[in-house]
């Protein structure tokens, strides 16, 4: 099903009696395939773009690339640096705005600029009964009741089908530069990233590539300020770390696009896991991975890892505050392990109660593969 208006989409949901699989650009599925596909791809209009107000309103099916191109022409960007997961997930297609917001899919700059969720000022959505609803708007602050925008963002389509999103934009940094620290083990790497993120030099990304033993740190902004901050940071870290290189704008942009899209782990066989912890627990997670290939972003707070197919990583992470999601696996593994970790009984009950109000027919709830 491929509705081209919100009303048409609402009608489909009103009439639906069986679970639906909501799709956008088809770069990423939340769990295994199930149910009839309902695409938001037809809702692809950019209805408002006000560069002066740093806001844009677009349909959920609008390709992200189209939005990024349009705002780049005005010197603006999406602060949360949305990732393109199609490649690492082995899927074709192009990410859409709705999918990015429903999945709260944020890139390296999240450490300083917030998540996709934080850039969503307003949403329109259709709940499981076919009601068209809206929350928030184009204003930067709104404290009128429950924050349904934040609840919808990251809900993976389980509370409703997002049809339109109002986004907050930021001016695009004039230039970037990155420092590369070499020869670091994971403990040294996390210490270096924490130190860098805690400085006044506004480090906008911090990642660790364990195979190369490299930490990458990015600064962005006006040219003179970037030169100054990169140098100061280099001087400061140089007291502890011997081997530091500076890479320029072009190389830096390439590097961070790669980390954003998890390219260092591309082409490896196995299941793809995404682990969220507090940065200081990154060392414990690395130990639990027992030599499996991984990549660390967000100063150590986000860890991507490829494990042998069917292997359950979660028991090894017991006792570490955080959670591990399964992003790429076969249906049997998804059925056995679940894309998301199980919640405790109280939270599961609360979550069920909330979902029931949005989706009484259970059209959008996670399903197992047939």
């Amino acid at each position: 099903m491929h509705p081209t208006t919100e009303a048409e989409l609402a009608q489909i949901i009103q009439d639906a009696r069986a679970p639906l699989q909501i799709t956008g650009g088809d770069t990423h599925r939340f769990g295994p395939a199930h149910g009839a596909a309902l695409s938001t791809g037809g809702l692809d209009q950019i209805s408002i773009y006000e560069p002066g107000a740093l806001t844009l309103v677009a349909g959920a099916g609008t390709p992200l690339a189209q939005i990024e191109q349009m705002i780049a022409a005005e010197g603006q960007c999406l602060a949360f640096e949305p990732a393109h997961w199609g490649g690492i997930l082995g899927r074709s297609g192009a990410p859409t705005l709705g999918g990015i917001i429903a999945g709260n899919i944020s890139g390296p700059r999240r450490v300083i600029a917030g998540a996709a969720r934080d850039c969503a000022l307003g949403v329109r959505f259709v709940d499981g009964t076919g009601r068209i609803l809206k929350n928030g708007g184009r204003v930067m602050k709104n404290v009128t009741g429950y924050d349904l925008v934040k609840l919808l963002a990251g809900s993976r389509g389980q509370l409703g089908v997002i049809t339109e999103v109002a986004l907050k934009l930021l001016p695009r940094p004039e230039t970037t530069a990155s420092l590369i620290l070499r020869g670091l083990d994971v403990g040294q790497a996390i210490a270096a990233m924490s130190a860098a993120l805690g400085t006044a030099f506004e480090v906008s990304a911090a990642a660790y590539l364990p195979d190369a033993g490299e930490v990458a740190l990015r600064v962005e902004g006006f040219e003179a300020s970037v030169v100054y901050r990169a140098q100061e940071l280099r001087d400061l870290l140089g007291k502890t770390y011997a081997d530091i290189d500076l890479i320029d704008d072009t190389a830096s942009q390439d590097l961070w696009r790669g980390i954003r899209d998890v390219r260092p782990l591309m082409g490896l066989d196995g299941d793809l896991w995404r682990i969220s912890v507090k940065p200081s627990d990154g060392i414990a997670v690395a130990a639990a991975l027992k030599g499996a290939p991984y990549l660390m972003d967000w100063g150590g707070g986000l860890i991507w890892a490829v494990l042998p197919a069917g292997h359950d990583l979660r028991p090894a992470l017991n006792g570490i505050d955080g959670h591990a999601s399964l992003l790429r696996a076969d249906d049997a593994t998804f059925n056995a392990l679940g894309a998301l970790p199980p919640q405790n009984a109280v939270l599961a009950e609360l979550t069920r109660g909330i979902a029931q109000k949005f989706d009484p027919k259970g059209l959008f709830q996670p399903q197992k593969a047939a």
Partner: protein, 459 residues
Amino acid sequence: MIPDQTRLAMTALTDLLGDRLSTGPSVLAIHGRDEAYSTPALPDAVAFPQDTAEVSAIMKICHQYNVPVVPFGIGTSLEGHVIPTHGGISIDTSRMTQILAIHESDLDAVVQPGVTRVALNTALRATGLMFTVDPGADATLGGMAATRASGTNTVRYGTMRDNVLALEVVLPDGTIIETGSRARKSSAGYDLTHLFVGSEGTLGIITKLTLRLFGQPEAISAATCAFPTVDDAVNTVILAIQSGIPMARIELLDDVQMKGMNLFNPDLNLPETPHLFLEFHGTSAGVKEQVDMFKSIATDFGVSDFQWASAAEDRNRLWQARHNAYYAAKALRPGCDGLVTDCCVPISALAECIAQTKDRIAASGLIAPILGHVGDGNFHLVVLVDPNAPDEIARAKALAADINHLALSFGGTISGEHGVGIGKKPYMAKEHGAAYALMSALKRAVDPKNIMNPGKIVD
């Protein structure tokens, strides 16, 4: 008359808390009002728990006897959030003031809800870190999260929405839950943290908060500057933000407000034309660069009278003056009360919205200075009224209603930072349409007995 069920609950609560359940008239009175204009109402008793377990025990008792519960921080809300309109128990968190942990390398702090924002920053002084959200009052962090508070530097560092990483909450039946974790990205289920942030105590009581911290900037520079018109000031702000100047604070004060500022503090002695109060954060070189860029933009809009403050003492004086703006407004008409409005519009509509607002103030015959967090499109009127003149109060309320509808007509909201409480409830259906019914349904899902701060946000 205290209902029988409440009496039974109070007996059980006294067994639990001893003299930390109070029915003293002065204690009840303090917990029966907030800082603004809503009609006071007394709780039947006030409980002073010391930890999460006690909050949970209190909730279990109140749940058993169907007694309303109102969480209370320090009482600085502005829309009647903490007023026990249905009686019952006010739960005062002022004995839960421990800073449980400061994690310097993870840039977060874990606190009990009764810690105030100033107390947290005092504790952070030696660390080189800071907590940024700064509403006018030295509010409790629990209250700030519950009302999704913001302050003067939201344009750079965000509101409570952006700065609460995780919560511990006691639900209406006494169950204790943790939403989110200190892990930066919570992906296990819905974002419950942000459901509770801004829920105004209607879904549960916040008993522990994990808050985001920022590194203190290497250099800070603050300034005031004057503009010929509000339009010029607003257009400067728009262009400055659009140019990528990472402004830390940009506050607008109109000509009327500036007159009040000078009356309240004659040493200030600033021209009585629209002003921006500014602050720049960054490295020493970065701040200089930001200031130069800002000046060049502002010059095109006729800026004058730049006054700079870089030393901490001078900056504090400047921002203290801004934080005292409410009292300064009242200096325009001694003996009056101030009714504060709080709308927020898309920044592209801000200049036009303020222009129309000024027309309506003039038509009302009232004095109402304007001040705003212009970087966010949020502005307040302090409508000055004689508390003994019913006609004036009626006109002031009509003006406030008018401004709310005006904001909605510009695609804005009726509240940018003060919240709904009792005062803004009449506008909720108009702003949210069908989603307002969904909010009520959500409230019933979490609090089926409707004992958590009943009558606020939704019915």
